[in-house]
């Protein structure tokens, strides 16, 4: 046996509440983040991810408080992302209780921020968030570019080259989200995940588009991901963490056996 495939529920948080949108529009309230975190901890989630989508400064302050309160009651690793613009932002989240910090737009503007965070606080806490859309036409060799602002703004940056660069600069993990798939429940962009995972030594987390347990399995078998992130299928009770672990084991993959 080897290191287990991690199953990571992701909670989108805005102004202190959990929300999850379909393609980042039509946000639906799904509760208190600390309570949800506690429930996922009890259910045996392998890690938890908070993605802050607050636009305002006040919302950011609330996030630090949520992270702190979550760390007091949850004994599993916590990744926090969304709006991390500087090494100081990252440090504040780590001090509040996050174990890893995911950097997105700031690393698009200035990739060296990954090196700054890794050197100051270690690669183990430096997660690079890679939000990509497929830009190649059907029939052409696949190509993806980085999109920011919830997938709305194009940058013209090649997604695979960007991901490889961030790993070289010191990111200890890549969170690869298909903005085409996000919220659709149609499955990960497996080719995107696989292309990036095959070009880096650090773990890749597949994200964006999970609708079934088979999608999680495919993310690992075909996408070569080390971890699978999902939101809606867990939040709305469609599947439990235990079912996700079982589906991975049924496919011959290493997954944790926890009560829950």
């Amino acid at each position: 046996m080897t290191v287990r495939v991690r199953v990571i529920p992701c909670l989108d948080v805005a102004n202190g509440r959990v929300v999850k949108g379909v393609n980042f529009v039509d946000l639906k309230d799904a509760g208190d983040p600390v309570e949800q975190a506690r429930a996922y901890d009890a259910a045996g989630a392998d890690e938890l991810c908070f993605l802050d989508i607050s636009a305002s400064h006040e919302g950011r302050g609330t996030l630090l408080d949520i992270v702190k309160r979550t760390a007091e009651v949850c004994f599993m690793p916590l990744t926090v992302g969304g709006g991390v613009g500087s090494v100081e932002d990252a440090r504040a989240l780590l001090l509040a209780g996050a174990d890893k910090v995911a950097v997105n737009s700031a690393a698009v503007r200035r990739p060296e921020i990954m090196a700054d965070i890794a050197q100051r606080m270690g690669s183990q806490c430096a997660v690079a968030s890679v939000d990509a859309r497929r830009v190649s036409a059907p029939g052409e060799p696949a190509r993806w570019e980085i999109f920011t602002h919830g997938g709305r703004r194009e940058t013209g940056i090649d997604a695979v080259a960007h991901a490889v660069r961030l790993a070289e600069l010191g990111a200890g993990e890549l969170l690869v989200t298909s903005m085409d798939g996000d919220g659709t429940q149609a499955g990960y962009d497996l080719e995107l995940t696989r292309t990036i995972a095959s070009n880096v030594d650090v773990p890749v987390v597949a994200s964006g588009g999970v609708g079934t347990l088979d999608h999680l399995v495919a993310g690992v078998v075909e996408g070569r991901a080390s971890a699978v992130l999902a939101a809606s299928i867990f939040h709305f009770g469609k599947h439990s963490i235990a079912e996700a672990h079982q589906a991975l084991r049924n496919a011959g993959l290493p997954a944790r056996e926890v009560a829950g």
Binding site: D46, K68, F75, P77, D99, M121, Q124, P203, A227, R256
Partner: protein, 206 residues
């Protein structure tokens, strides 16, 4: 008076997580950067996140801390728990960002894990902890690992390794010398397995 656990604050991260977990299992925790608190405490916990050098520099920047720890653990046999880099510091040397002295309590070196496309580094996630010797505090079970360097024993005959895991090859999961226990994984992030280990540590009478 209740037993106290000194949680050593030397600027090396994740202090709060370890504090929270120790409190959750009922420990009376003193978070401190003062050698006199360390000398007085019944049990000692040394956390650590980041690089070997940065952590060692942080520890040695506190006057008398390394010597007070050595005396408390190796001479007065206070139970000690090193976590992640806190465990790695027990070694003679670390090879992260150059060769650096550790506390030197056990013979061995902290060396980089070797990545490949199949064996990702950092070793990140839950993995099986397999005890290698007779019963110890560290039981078989799944724990959360997050590291790019690992302890390699210097002398196989006197190896302090008491548990291993598998990532590419055999990787040290825990070491022990007398009353000093070090775990590479994060008990404070390992849900029930980790809290159970901390509970046993609090009751440990080596």
């Amino acid at each position: 008076m209740a037993e106290t656990v000194a949680l050593i604050d030397y600027g090396a991260g994740n202090l709060h997580s370890v504090h929270n977990a120790l409190q959750a299992v009922g420990a009376q925790v003193v978070v401190t950067d003062r050698p006199e608190d360390v000398a007085r405490a019944n049990r000692l916990v040394l956390p650590g996140v980041g690089s070997f050098k940065a952590c060692m520099d942080g520890l040695t920047a506190i006057p008398d801390m390394a010597e007070t720890l050595r005396e408390a653990v190796l001479e007065r046999r206070r139970p000690f728990l090193g976590i992640c880099v806190g465990m790695q510091l027990m070694a003679r040397f670390g090879l992260e960002h150059g060769r650096h002295d550790g506390l030197g309590w056990v013979e061995g070196t902290v060396a980089p894990l070797k990545p490949s496309r199949e064996v990702k580094v950092p070793h990140m996630g839950w993995n099986m902890v397999e005890p290698t010797g007779p019963a110890s505090l560290v039981e078989r079970g799944e724990a959360y690992f997050l590291h790019s360097y690992a302890f390699e024993p210097g002398d196989d005959d006197l190896s302090p390794v008491c548990a291993v895991t598998t990532h590419g090859g055999r990787v040290t999961a825990a070491i022990q010398k007398d009353t000093a226990l070090g775990v590479q994984f994060h008990p404070e992030k390992s849900q029930k397995y980790g809290l159970d280990l901390l509970t046993r540590f609090l009751a440990w009478k080596p």
